[in-house]
Amino acid sequence: MVWSFISRTRGRNRFDLTDWLTWGYLIFGILLMFGPVLWVAMSSFKTDAALSEYPPTFLPLSPQTVIVEGYDEPLPLYEITGGEYEGRTLAQIRRIGLNAQMVDPQNPGERLNVSINDREPAREFSVAWGNYTQLFERFNFMQYFWNSAFITVVATIITVIFNSMAAFALAKYKFRGRTVVFLLIIATLMIPPTINLVPIYLVVNELGIVNSPWGVIWPAVATPTGVFLLRQYMLTIPDDLLDAARMDHASEWRVYWRIVLPLAAPAIAVLVIFSVMWRWNEFLWPLIVLTRSEEFTLQLALNAFQGDLQTSWSGLLAMTVLTLLPITIIFALLQKNITAGIAQSGVK
């Protein structure tokens, strides 16, 4: 059934021009979106040597090496593609000008001279798990993960509570200046975040929460997008329900907590996803507020991989993949709610 849905065509039984265009466009889109991610994932399993190879390979292939009797270091293996020793696999001892001095691993006594144009590095498929294990062994990955997770979870919870309370008031209470307040909140969307950096930093500094996760959490919890999204959704909750709850002796807090909040669940799911993505991927603000490395979030730790003199690409890539995973999982689990929530909060 799924397949017949996917393979529907506009032309009867055969591919119409629009079908070609649609499929072409969609496949192009998939390549454009997933190509880089896939490349990163593949590259995270490459050794540093394979990463610096040119031309780059898609699969994690690494040059084969062999231990040859009489040599301390493992020697790289080469396939010979031409000349006298064509078809043999030899280990290279050293390169001298346009020639390479090589040795047959089976016969370590004999040295052979091969032109460098006649050899190709022998490669094998090898997964460098070490990229990942070193994150946990040499690098305090769990600490950064915990910092990021703490900020994301706590900020999201507070965001949902604050925004839904503001949205409830704006959607369901009639008070003087309601429209003005709402427009002001929406208007803050027009201010570029970079403009706020300095004033917010001054406030955060004054509160003494620089270099603490709360310095990242508090400035982020009031989001105009969230208030707008929830308010639009709450407008669709009938007033009669709230009146009925009031007749049922419910306090305003209980009306909010037991009636409005559960009924706004689809919109709240959307806000949760947005908030998780924002907080998890946030970079600039944590970079400013958090300066001690034990408070770093994953994004800051990733940045720290990029040193002034050298960059540990293998570690960086492995960590990028690990950083992508939680957000991907959350998105996959809640994506149905996104479409439902957005569709419903848009129209009354």
Partner: protein, 366 residues
């Protein structure tokens, strides 16, 4: 047990007065119906009593105690909403229990009251369902049940039957009436349907544009409408209105006549009118006698024969529609000319300002 008193109750919205000083007393145990066309303020008045709308002026008393400033819940009322307003995310049981949980009723007490209400309203087998899974009539019962478990002093109903189909409406009408007989509570019921008002009420309050037109028992309103609006609103089909003028006033009646000279005697008090005044004569479709000579000439446009009764829709010489209700079947045909006679005891006469002249002999009161 509760008496609800409204004294000069006023509701103002920005720049517009919705309720113009309403005075009303609803006795303990009375079934009182607010009726009127849409926009007459009946729902606003009910919501003011409930505490869901602020009172702009005047005083509302329940059992003699001023409650203007009390919150909705504190007034000890329960309300059934037009949309039922069942909490969609809770099961029927949770819906019924919500109000009791809010006032921290003990668990077993909640269970007992909810079960009692469910048994009374025959919704026991649906207790674990959500409102979406119920039919309209079942939802209506749950909404009533939610009011019943609270054991309120006064029940308020805001057009509770308007979302039901005609057949179910008649059934639920009977159930609400029998609920009232069983519980004996004061009930205030809002509707735009005069049939509901006539069949259920002890006392009907007819409202128009935020003012009370008349208060009385159903038959009072039917027999002695205070003005042309009430006369037109109560009774189905609507009362016929004919433009006439006063020909002569007598001791206990007046004579009205049409432009073409035919005249009828009306058994109403001549007070306030004199010969030559323009008046509107009202007569209910069921009181018109068709076929007699020297009557009001009409042309029959169409006929509805229901077997047990018949409706004849006619037009008179002046272009006024005239509806005739006859019990039994009729031999008349559409297109025929006919004469209708207006019996003196059945005629209502309204002055130019709409006020009725008092009826001195009433044909209906057999």
């Amino acid at each position: 047990m509760a008496v609800v008193e409204l004294e000069k109750l006023v509701k103002d919205y920005a720049g517009f007065r919705a309720i113009h000083g309403v005075d009303l007393t609803i006795e303990d145990g009375q079934f009182c119906v607010f009726v009127g066309p849409s926009g007459c303020g009946k729902s606003t008045l009910l919501r003011m009593i409930a505490g869901l709308e602020d009172i702009s002026g005047g005083e509302l008393r329940i059992d003699g105690e001023r409650v203007n400033e009390q919150r909705a819940a504190e007034r000890g009322l329960a309300m059934v909403f037009q949309s039922y307003a069942l909490y969609p995310h809770m099961t029927v049981r949770e819906n019924l229990a919500f109000g009791l949980e809010n006032i921290r009723t003990p668990k077993d007490e909640i269970r007992r009251r909810v079960d009692d209400a469910a048994r009374m309203l025959q919704i026991e087998e649906h207790m674990q369902r959500r409102p979406k899974q119920l039919s309209g009539g079942q939802r209506q019962r749950v909404a009533i049940g939610r009011a019943v478990v609270r054991e309120p002093k006064v029940f308020l109903f805001d057009e509770p039957l308007s979302n039901l189909d005609a057949e179910l409406r008649v059934v639920m009408r009977g159930e609400i009436a029998s609920l009232h007989r069983r519980l004996g509570n004061t009930m205030i019921y809002v509707t735009h349907d005069q049939v509901e008002a006539m069949t259920m009420a002890d006392k009907i309050v007819v409202l128009k544009l935020g003012t009370i037109q008349q208060v009385g028992s159903p038959l009072d309103l039917y027999n002695r409408p205070a003005n042309q609006f009430v006369a037109g609103f109560i009774g189905s089909p609507r009362m016929n209105f004919l433009k006439m003028s006063v020909a002569e006033t007598r001791a206990e009646s007046i004579v009205v006549k049409e432009e073409n000279g035919r005249s009828f005697e009306a058994a109403v008090s001549p007070e306030g009118v004199k010969a030559g005044d323009k008046v509107t004569v009202g007569i209910r479709p069921e009181h018109l006698e068709i076929g007699s000579e020297r009557g009001h000439p009409v042309t029959i446009d169409s006929i509805e024969q229901l077997g047990g009764e018949s409706y004849l829709y006619c037009t008179d010489a002046g272009g006024n529609p005239v509806t005739i209700h006859k019990s039994g079947q009729t031999r008349h045909r559409a297109g025929e000319e006919a004469q209708v006679f207006l019996p003196a005891e059945s005629i209502h006469v309204f002055k130019e300002d709409g006020a009725a002249l008092e009826r001195l002999r009433i044909g209906e009161a057999v």
